[in-house]
Symmetry: C2
Subunit: 313 residues, 2 copies
């Protein structure tokens, strides 16, 4: 069974328990994110290969921002204030698409297994690059030779060529090919070239992630937003995914927009739901041992020391 | 072999002969489109289910517009004048992606076969709809129950459930399932539920087309463009594709943008290349028999009649 979203652990309503985390992008998700951004240190971070987890300090002036929640599908919510948010866009190409495709195209049985395969893959075996078309980059329009021109773009042609070669090699027509001929069961169960599951996984992970990043950039651009927070159960702390999303935002916006991630991305809804029900002034808001407004928050250790000092006096 | 782009017939440079029609979005494609839009009647049309081919009259004030060329990948070019154009965006999720995926997930051997399958498919068997999540629409954010929340979003769960049921039914562990149990070879060659190739084809056609439509809308929005022309060899006059692209533009722009198609979408580059080489005032620009500027263009029939009249006089 698919790994349930951590949000299901603390949810209040059964209907909301959907592993697609569709609702994470709703009011609970946004409320949870506001809390994470403004009050929790070492929660929000930016990602790059050079600096995989650069924490962004909690900041008070957070509005407006774009929340991109990636579950089965994708929701994009513009948050302009504590009670002001609008779902401005989304995409049906999300986690559900990737897991669905890879469940038919590979032997992987879980999301993490699929991500593990992607880490070992070479997408250039199945993707068509700008370099494959032009023999180099297309600098005139800012496209490097390594830029993906068409995701999965090599597959159709390679498969047909492989099938034709196999048919030609199988001169006696008995379907057993010829000794030494390249062939065998393809990823689709067909005779012909076999595409490595790792290459397929990496290609499709890139395709889905790049696409989400591009749409997020365009939506943020349309709404004049610079800060984009990615949440939801799709990311799962996977480096390739975060790298791809970050790179897409940086590439398209030429560095003007910033992509942020969360250490507890799957808990947005749960935390939001908790905060929604939380009575005013319930408990303490600051972590034990922290100073706030010149006053040190009560801690058991401090209480013990104070009691000891009082006794001595 | 894949059907070569008609553009290859008249191309001047071998490197340009790429069935992905990558170059259609370049200068030749744009030049060809300008020609089609301004001078050729019954070439450009809008599509809707009620009115599948409503021709748009050629118009002189065509700039600026967005040209979306869909081949293996997608190129989006903003055209501001006869010599003013910029590639403003693109996507790696294009025809190559769809054909590649369907070549592994179905038995189809050609693009037209894949499109034929899509026509007979029911995408709701593999896509997760808003209605599946909420039990109805999510009107608050403008989502109907029939809106696709996650393309292919039902596949992973159904497959896992099917495999678990098959394993349970195969009580003796000999791998032959149980009589009457639902199962058999799945689309990926796995034991478990079989997804109809037609349903898969329709789902992925919608996914790719919707995505291109959405990105085209966002890019046009960013650049203040209302007119979007779709060209390239992907469309192939297929109604579902044109309907999906048109609907996406109409939905996202609330009717403010317009999607146009071409009867000879694959010839943009060829025509553009021809026009580029055409000497000034070479031949006549108007079709035989047409009036232009008060003067009837010479036609063989008219010449014969005039000669006959001169003789009589």
């Amino acid at each position: 069974m698919p790994h349930p979203s951590p949000g299901t652990v603390l949810s209040f309503r059964p209907l909301w328990i959907h592993w697609g985390v569709w609702r994470e992008g709703g009011s609970r998700g946004r409320r949870g994110l506001d809390f994470f951004i403004t009050e929790i240190p070492e929660e929000v971070f930016t990602y790059s290969e050079a600096n995989p987890m650069a924490f962004a300090a909690p900041r008070p002036d957070i509005y407006p921002y774009l929340l991109v929640n990636i579950g089965s599908g994708v929701s994009m919510v513009k948050v302009s204030g504590p009670q002001q948010y609008t779902r401005v866009s989304g995409s049906s190409l999300g986690g559900g698409t990737l897991w669905g495709l890879l469940s038919l195209l590979t032997q992987a049985k879980s999301f993490d297994e699929m991500l593990g395969m992607a880490e070992c893959g070479d997408n250039t075996k199945v993707d068509m690059l700008v370099g494959d078309i032009y023999g180099g980059g297309y600098g005139k329009v800012g496209l490097k030779s390594s830029t993906i021109a068409s995701s999965f773009g090599k597959v159709f042609k390679k498969k047909r060529e492989g099938e034709a070669a196999a048919a030609e090699a199988d001169g006696d027509g008995d379907g057993d090919g010829a000794e030494g001929a390249e062939g065998g069961e393809g990823a689709g169960g067909e005779k012909g070239p076999r595409f490595r599951e790792e290459d397929i996984s990496r290609s499709l992970l890139y395709a889905v992630s790049n696409n989400i990043g591009q749409i997020a950039y365009l939506v943020a651009q349309n709404h004049g937003l610079e800060h984009i927070y990615f949440g939801g159960s799709f990311i799962r702390g996977h480096r390739q995914t975060m790298n791809t999303l970050s790179y897409a935002i940086k590439f398209w916006s030429r560095g003007e927009q910033k992509a942020y991630f969360l250490r507890h991305e799957g808990y947005l809804g749960a935390v939001g739901a908790f905060l929604r029900r939380q009575p005013r002034n319930w408990g303490r808001r600051y972590s034990a041992g922290e100073e706030h407004g010149g006053r040190r928050v009560f801690t058991p250790a401090a209480a013990g020391a104070a009691a000891g000092a009082a006794v001595k006096e």
